[in-house]
């Protein structure tokens, strides 16, 4: 790069306004069951699989837009809408407006709109755009997070605020972009801030009142982490206070471990699963040790927050490899036997399969081009490192680290799993980086980073792809290469059709078995959100997705901006022509047959 930039990572979106028509007055709505989409990932297992099957490979080529709405917001539109009881709910990036659209009426008119008071000070404390990853519907209410560190519950019938709880401190570098998970009267929430040296946590709120019932740190001493020796049984580690002793001195106090991705839940085991982000700062020489439990998956009891097991994907992370991507719960045949597993596509380029009762590693295979490690040792659970790719101030500029810190896949782009094809579907990035660490000083509420990391294309030259992955064999089944990094979530249906968007603004459907593209439509702005599907009140299957480039791309592709005459930037040198294909936006699109 001509100019060194400090790279970051993290964060969100959603939105809504209106034109178009359709949506006939209809038959009584079959709202309920598989026709709805009430939580971010469709189900507790986070599969993003819908049993709807009207849209099939032969019919998908006729998919066309039936409705659009402009949210009036230009931030990155990550996340996804919800559809419950014939109403679509949309959360925008900051200022986090919540829209409710009546899908039973012509033109899908607004039913209500909720506009919270969200401090603009949070904008400067969000590392990577002002995204929001969506709401959760439960018990007649919508639960979601505001960027400035509040969780709200809103009455789904009226749009009135039921409660509003402050959960995070913007002044400490905490903002909130993740979508909550609601289980057993608990609203589970966490904070972003891996670029600000936060003391990362997850909280359980009372769904009825919003009261914070428990707070568990992701790093630090056992007492802070809600670890009890009788309940905490990690497979690969023993000892007490690992979250403090695996750090140099008291560096855990500013050690990051944010929660900005997704939470899943197994009702039988009564465990929630979530990933933690990078350790702070990016310069690893300021925090010797494994830095547990950053870049890890944690399994907790939702009732009291107690930690049951944890597994660290990237010990002593040198490369900003957050593990905040989705933890997908699936039942697979492993070695001929039925196994209850958790599958996770990590930023570090490996796809992991773990026993979700114990955290024991079953397999870890690279799904992207990986140079920082050669493999993962299944007996120890630890990566086999390439010593030449370790970073730190004393190592200068370390070249050719793959994947880049954007990840083999972004945690913002959750995968999908089909129990019909037994395959996982995910966007991927094909980027490498040079990594020059620098000493960083922690000043509360300001960036705590310490690395310059310019990117370049990985092998093949395409910057992204959408793939189908067999988690049992650890192999790619098919791949659709994309010119630009792929940043959209995945959706797969019982019609054996997968849906995804691209950074240059195409929304595509493809055959789940072969990857053959069945339809594509240019939605006006790059897609960094996650498609959903639902059965409308008219009885038909629809697919909805946001358009609105942003998230990390608000930083990395500055020339797609048009909204600020005081900030004009040249194109990113690894991606010179993205602005030829897309610009900022904020639209909801609905497609039908």
């Amino acid at each position: 790069m001509l100019i060194c930039r400090i790279s970051i990572l993290a964060c969100i979106g959603a939105g809504a306004l209106l034109c178009g028509s359709v949506a006939a007055a209809g038959r009584p709505g079959p709202a309920g069951g598989d026709g709805e989409w009430s939580m971010p990932a469709k189900d507790f297992a986070a599969t993003r699989f819908s049993a709807l099957a009207d849209i099939t490979p032969p019919k998908a080529p006729t998919l066309h837009p039936v409705w659009t709405f402009s949210t009036g917001v230009l931030g990155g539109h990550e996340g996804q809408p919800l559809v419950v009881g014939g109403v679509m709910y949309v959360v925008t990036p900051w200022p986090n407006v919540l829209y409710a659209f009546d899908l039973s009426k012509d033109g899908y008119p607004l039913k209500w709109k909720y506009r919270p008071d969200v401090s603009p000070n949070a904008i400067g404390v969000s590392c990577c755009d002002t995204v929001n990853r969506g709401a959760f519907y439960a018990d007649g209410k919508l639960f979601y997070n505001l960027l400035d560190g509040h969780t709200v519950a809103v009455d789904a019938a009226t749009g009135r605020e039921v409660w509003n709880t402050r959960i995070a401190e913007v002044g400490n570098g905490e903002t909130v972009s993740m979508a909550p998970m609601v289980v057993k009267d608990r609203v589970i929430v966490g904070a972003s801030g891996g670029e600000f040296g936060i003391y990362g946590w997850i909280k359980g709120l009372d769904a009825k009142t919003g009261k914070v019932l428990w707070t568990a740190r992701n790093i630090g001493p056992d007492a802070d982490m809600l670890i009890r020796q009788d309940t905490f049984k990690p497979t690969y580690d023993n000892g007490t206070d690992l979250g403090a002793h695996s750090w140099d001195g008291e560096t855990w106090k500013t050690g990051g471990a944010p929660v900005w991705g997704w939470v899943s839940y197994d009702p039988e085991l009564d465990l929630i699963y979530y990933g933690t982000g990078n350790p702070s700062p990016y310069n690893p020489e300021q925090r010797a040790g494994d830095n547990k439990w950053t870049a890890s998956v944690l399994a907790r009891r939702p009732g009291d927050g107690a930690l049951v097991w944890a597994y660290q994907f990237t010990p002593h992370d040198n490369w900003d490899y957050d593990a905040t991507g989705a933890m997908i719960l699936a039942d697979l045949k492993v070695g001929g036997k039925d196994a209850k597993v958790l599958v996770h596509f990590d930023k570090n380029g490996f796809a992991y399969t773990l026993d979700r009762a114990t955290g024991r590693l079953i397999s870890a295979e690279a799904f992207a081009h990986v140079t920082w490690a050669k493999s993962v040792d299944l007996s120890t659970g630890r990566p086999v490192l390439d010593p030449d790719k370790q970073t730190g101030v004393s190592r200068g500029n370390v070249r050719g680290v793959c994947p880049s810190l954007e990840g083999g896949v972004s945690p913002a782009s959750p995968a999908a799993f089909s129990p019909r094809t037994h395959l996982f579907y995910t966007s991927t990035n094909n980027l490498c980086m040079d990594y020059a660490a620098a000493r960083s000083t922690h000043l509360k509420g300001t960036p705590f980073i310490g690395a310059n990391s310019p990117y370049s294309a990985g092998p093949g030259g395409n910057l992204g792809a959408f793939i189908a992955w067999d988690a049992v064999t650890g192999k790619k089944v098919w791949e659709n290469k994309e010119e630009f990094p792929s940043w959209s979530g995945a959706l797969v249906t019982a019609g054996d059709v997968v849906f995804y968007g691209t950074l240059d603004g195409w929304f595509k459907s493809a055959d789940a078995k072969t990857g053959k593209v069945l339809s594509k439509f240019k939605v006006g702005s790059g897609v960094v959100g996650n498609p959903i599907t639902y059965r409308g009140p008219d009885g038909r299957q629809y697919v909805a997705v946001y358009a609105g480039i942003g998230g990390d791309w608000a930083l990395l592709s500055g020339d797609v901006r048009s909204d600020d005459p005081a900030d004009v930037r040249p194109p990113a040198d690894f991606m010179k022509n993205i602005a030829r294909h897309t610009s900022q936006g904020g639209m909801i699109w609905i497609f039908g047959l």
């Binding site: 100019i3 400067g124 900030d567 030829r580």
Partner: protein, 154 residues
């Protein structure tokens, strides 16, 4: 009211006399009633100076060098990028300014903060520190051209 006004006037006199900077930060209990409550001041709501601020270090290269170190040490680069070339926060080296590029305007942006997320650093850096940063930013070379054209074939 008249007491507050008298205080304001005396503050102005003191400022002029010392040639250093603006009124003290809003937490100061001696501030006039209109700005006494911090909750009434959001980032970017800049109280009137009463005087034109002048940079005491006007283009001093040694101070600019100190300001460059401070720009990194205070994590300004974490948002505005290395060399102030822009990142999540805007570029400060392209000669385009959201809130004005005069010394006094850049001073106010750093001292009081700005509404789209720029924190107020006046309390942390003090008047002298802010002027040091202003001197650094104003020392950055004016680019020969600023890229403003639409995408072109390479």
């Amino acid at each position: 009211m008249s007491r507050a006004l008298a205080f304001l006037l005396s503050a102005v006199v003191v400022s002029c006399g010392r040639q250093v900077g603006p009124a003290p930060p809003p937490s100061d209990p001696n501030l006039p009633p209109a700005v006494r409550n911090e909750a009434h001041i959001v980032a970017g709501t800049v109280p009137p100076h009463g005087v034109e601020l002048t940079n005491p270090y006007n283009a001093d290269p040694a101070v600019a060098k100190r300001g460059a170190l401070m720009f990194t040490a205070m994590n300004c680069d974490g948002c505005h990028g290395g060399d102030a070339s822009g990142w999540v926060g805007p570029s400060l080296s392209d000669q385009r300014w959201r809130y004005g590029g005069a010394d006094s305007e850049v001073f106010s942006s750093i001292y009081y903060g700005r509404p789209k997320g720029m924190p107020a650093f006046g309390g942390t850096l003090g008047v002298d520190g802010v002027w040091t940063l202003v001197t650094y930013l104003r020392s950055l070379p004016v680019p020969p051209t600023v890229s403003t054209e639409s995408w072109q074939e390479p």
